[in-house]
């Protein structure tokens, strides 16, 4: 008896396609915030162990991005922004992406647990599971609060970095968690305002699609009003110096001004109607980078002063 096996077309996927699956830009922000969590943690960590922790966190973030692209390939194909991704473009088969993502997820958590510590590995596993199962598979397609709750996954990396250095958690990494958590909605809703048609076509219930642009602008302002003082919390709570406080307050004020302008933009229908949302989206990236960079500067300055004294 002969058995005919159906063969999939042999893959033409290059290494670059697999790297693209890992969402390198998101990964770089994850690694940066985890690095800050690791550096500001008390105690000393060997540079090799610190580098190993960051490598595992980067690979874990890549795994989450890969599994997200595997599950969302159908909606990615319907959106202009994501149609050229490796799976909807046909360069990588869904099964290959799933196997790649699961391998990376398992490998990153196991290696982090073996070489760094179990607490950091558990947090990394929680982050990947939350992003893939809770955000991607459940919330993203069902509620306009998708990125609010799902934002917890993106907010965890500083806590993973802290746990890698100390083996436990404390109030400081939780403050950093809250900053990213409340930063996520204004950031993504600003994006969704000028990509509203795309999300509507893909059937994703983003806030502007479900509740309208005016409500989204109002929500962005509300979250920015919470974010601005929260951004200064590390200084107010005594975890960071005055320089951090000044930068955080100034950047928070700028965020509120941009959110107010965005709210004002809704009234007048100009030809360049999404310029305020694009400006807020770009500034929100700078805002988060500035705050975390200032934490690094603050810690380096404190270390230098301690060394001199």
């Amino acid at each position: 008896m002969s058995v005919t096996l159906a063969h999939a077309e042999p893959s033409l996927a290059g290494v670059g396609d697999y790297l693209e699956l890992m969402k390198p830009r998101v990964m770089s922000l994850v690694v940066f915030t985890a690095f800050v969590g690791l550096v500001i943690a008390p105690g000393r960590i060997h540079p090799v162990i610190a580098a190993t922790a960051l490598l595992c966190i980067a690979v874990g973030a890549g795994a989450a991005g890969t599994l997200n692209m595997w599950y969302d390939a159908d909606i990615d194909a319907r959106m202009a922004r994501t149609a050229a991704r490796p799976i909807p473009a046909g360069r990588i088969a869904p099964g290959e992406a799933l196997a790649f993502g699961l391998t990376l997820a398992t490998g990153s958590v196991v290696v982090l647990g073996l070489l760094v510590n179990v607490a950091a590995a558990a947090l990394l596993a929680l982050t990947i599971a939350f992003y893939v199962v809770v955000y991607t598979m459940w919330l993203k397609r069902t509620t306009p609060q998708n990125i609010v709750i799902g934002g917890a996954a993106g907010a965890l990396p500083p806590a993973i970095g802290w746990a890698a250095a100390t083996g436990s958690l404390a109030v400081e990494p939780l403050v950093l968690f809250l900053i990213i958590f409340f930063w996520t909605p204004p950031h993504f809703w600003a994006l969704s305002l000028f990509r509203c048609q795309d999300y509507a076509r893909a059937g994703i219930p983003m806030l502007p699609v479900v509740a309208g642009e005016a409500q989204t602008r109002w929500q962005i302002l509300l979250y920015s009003l919470i974010l601005a003082p929260l951004g200064a919390a590390p200084w107010l709570l005594g975890y960071a110096g005055a320089l951090y406080g000044v930068v955080a307050l100034a950047a928070g004020a700028a965020m509120i001004v941009l959110a107010l302008r965005l709210r004002g933009e809704g009234a007048g229908e100009t030809t360049n109607r999404h310029s305020a949302s694009k400006r807020l989206f770009s500034f929100s990236i700078l805002y988060l980078f500035l705050l975390f960079a200032m934490l690094l500067v603050d810690r380096a300055a404190a270390g230098l002063l301690g060394h001199i004294a």
Partner: protein, 69 residues
């Protein structure tokens, strides 16, 4: 006819000899190149893991598997 005779016949009729195409999937040059690049990337990743475990073992010393929970 022995196997040796058959081989001699094949050699004498070399011009007429055409190897049978092998069954299975035949990769195009582009697919071969892509597979080679992927294989090299996997080998590099495994190499990095081996070196990483070796270095961390040196850093942590003999107590590498002993850690408080």
């Amino acid at each position: 006819m022995t196997a040796m005779d058959a081989a001699m016949n094949d050699a004498n009729n070399g011009a007429k000899y055409e190897p049978k195409p092998e069954p299975g999937v035949r990769l195009t040059p582009a697919q071969l190149r892509a597979r080679r690049a992927r294989s090299i990337a996997i080998a590099l990743a495994l190499g990095v893991l081996v070196v990483l475990f070796y270095i961390v073992t040196l850093v942590k010393g003999p107590g590498v598997l002993i850690r408080p929970l």
